[in-house]
């Protein structure tokens, strides 16, 4: 066991005082910015003991929020996985006009405020939206329903899988697929037997980040859901509803479950990065 070991190369050995101050500053910053908020979630959730904590989680509305959140993620993540695969296939295996425009578009949802990602669907499908009244006449409602939440969540999480796959597949080139095609393999066969095994861990990584974000999305969903308890309140929205009712223990109980999901995500992500470093594009998360 050691606390701090000096750099192996003397040219990189910082003065002990400098190293100590830097480590100290970094740890204090991390404690205040990261660990204190994380700790507080669990602390506040358990403030009144385990009884109240589990009562908060077992509440009917909380359970329906958990179900809804899982449902949304189970729809949005596969949608964006198929999209990510299709987009990455075009971008990395072919040369075509306007590729950079396509890449910029795929990245765009990252630079849009989540609230705007929700707003745009209200502008389209809301009561005063472009298509809202027509759809309403057909008996179809999108805003304030699960459909609207799925749309907004899908837009927010659209880039995740594509952003992981594109640099990864770019690095792998087209040789293996070209060989398969020359040997007479069809498109699907080439994809499932040649491409997919090469990208499976990267794909999993992208899906992981996509799912995590889909479950935690707040701003976009807040705009389109209408926050109807037990119906269109996802877990993050349920947290807000409970908090605004000053039901802090219950709010933090639901929040602690989301924090637990986040910790599991981090653990799986760290494991994938450590174990399959060469089969990931090691992209930055956003």
């Amino acid at each position: 066991m050691y606390l701090s070991r000096p750099a192996k190369n003397p040219a990189r050995r910082d003065p002990t005082l400098l190293a100590g101050v830097m480590i100290g500053v970094a740890i204090i910053y991390l404690v205040f910015v990261l660990f204190l908020p994380l700790f507080t979630v669990f602390f506040e959730a358990l403030r009144k003991g385990f009884g109240d904590y589990f009562r908060g989680l077992a509440d009917r509305d909380a359970l329906s929020a958990i179900k809804l959140t899982l449902l949304i993620a189970a729809i949005a993540a596969p949608l964006n996985t198929v999209f990510g695969l299709a987009a990455a296939w075009c971008v990395t295996k072919f040369e075509f006009f306007g590729k950079n425009v396509l890449l910029t578009l795929i990245d765009l949802p990252f630079s849009i405020s989540p609230v705007i990602s929700g707003l745009v669907y209200v502008l389209l499908y809301g009561a005063n939206g472009w298509f809202g009244p027509t759809l309403d006449a057909w008996g179809i409602q999108i805003i304030f329903t699960v459909t609207g939440i799925v749309l907004a969540t899908t837009l927010v999480t659209l880039p995740f899988v594509a952003r992981e796959l594109i640099p990864l597949m770019q690095g792998q080139g087209t040789d293996e697929e070209a060989a398969a095609a020359t040997l007479g393999a069809g498109g699907l066969r080439t994809f499932f037997l040649v491409t997919l095994p090469n990208i499976k861990w990267g794909l999993m990584y992208g899906v992981l980040l996509c799912t995590a974000r889909a479950m935690g999305e707040f701003g976009a969903v807040a705009v389109v859901s209408g926050k109807i308890r037990g119906q269109t309140a996802t877990m993050p929205l349920q947290v807000e509803i409970l908090y605004n009712e000053y039901n802090f223990v219950a709010a933090f109980a639901v929040a602690s479950l989301l924090a637990l999901f986040a910790l599991i995500t981090l653990a799986v992500k760290t494991f994938l990065e450590a174990r399959f470093a060469h089969e990931l594009a090691a992209q930055r998360w956003r």
């Binding site: 040219a11 075509f96 669907y121 877990m235």
Partner: protein
């Protein structure tokens, strides 16, 4: 030249690989439905009650204050993260100490933790009766429900960007550069400032831009700690939500369009600065 003329213009270069048409078709349909059509609505709808309405919404003091707060707090938060993110990246890459890998994994926490969870947690910490808030409250210093609180939330959401931008550059930097500096008699601190820092500076500006862009549009982690006091701690995304609650679609779209335009322009400028810096460094 003749080569270029002889070649017919093609949308896609010929390839032995299958599947371009269906994959491209699906990609375009998907993007149109989820991204292009919605964006078209954002760009076109503000104008439906005419220029005057757009101008009235944008020039209202409440909107201007909200925009100032969103962009200002995001800027200061990104600055603070630039300083401390650099230190954290340095410590994580260059020092070997107990718990380093665990800390490294936790850097991504703000990406993984849902913003609403961070929001209520920060509000609880910095409220006057909270763990940190009560230290300052007796001195009449308020953190939650002030612009400082907004900035603290934005520091949280933007934190990983700078660290994750700088880390790979520090890792890939060859040791010879620093050896040369040491051999030529530069002290360690002088080497860091004059040799290492210029190398990581482009990555630092990139991380700064990402943190800034993310913070400008942030909603979930801010609204709880902000207290949403009109003209003081109302952020721009909150105004969109309020306009929508009043069914003022054009007004909401106008605020959204202004935010998007400002972000795009700012990111463009930051990109220019960044490429200028890296060209000068090269």
């Amino acid at each position: 030249m003749t080569d270029a003329v002889a070649r017919r213009w093609r949308f896609v270069e010929p390839s032995a690989l299958p599947g371009f048409k269906p994959a491209m078709g699906f990609t375009m349909v998907y993007l149109s439905f989820f991204l292009l059509l919605p964006l078209a609505a954002l760009i076109l709808r503000p104008w439906e009650h005419g220029w005057d309405h757009v101008w009235k919404v944008i020039s209202a003091p409440r909107t201007l204050d909200a925009l100032k707060l969103s962009f200002g707090a995001a800027f200061f938060a990104a600055c603070i993260n630039a300083v401390f993110g650099t230190i954290v990246a340095w410590v994580l890459v260059r020092y070997d100490f107990f718990g380093r890998r665990l800390l490294d994994a936790f850097v991504d926490l703000p990406f993984a933790l849902p913003t609403a969870v961070a929001g209520i947690s920060l509000a609880a910490i910095y409220a006057p009766n909270g763990m940190v808030g009560k230290v300052f409250a007796p001195h009449d210093i308020m953190i939650a429900y002030t612009p400082i609180g907004v900035m603290i939330a934005l520091i949280f959401v933007g934190f990983p960007f700078v660290v994750r931008s700088i880390q790979p550059v520090l890792e890939d930097m060859s040791v010879e550069v620093e050896e040369a500096a040491a051999t030529l008699g530069a002290g360690r601190i002088r080497t860091i400032i004059q040799v290492v820092f210029p190398v990581i500076f482009p990555a630092l500006t990139a991380g700064f831009s990402l943190a800034f862009a993310r913070a400008v549009g942030e909603y979930g982690s801010v609204i709880f700690i902000a207290g949403n006091i009109q003209n003081v701690t109302e952020i721009a995304p909150l105004l969109i939500v309020m306009r929508l609650e009043e069914f003022d679609y054009a007004g909401a779209a106008a605020v959204g369009l202004v935010m998007l335009t400002l972000s795009v322009v700012l990111l463009f400028v930051l990109n220019l600065i960044q490429s200028w810096i890296s060209r000068r460094g090269a």
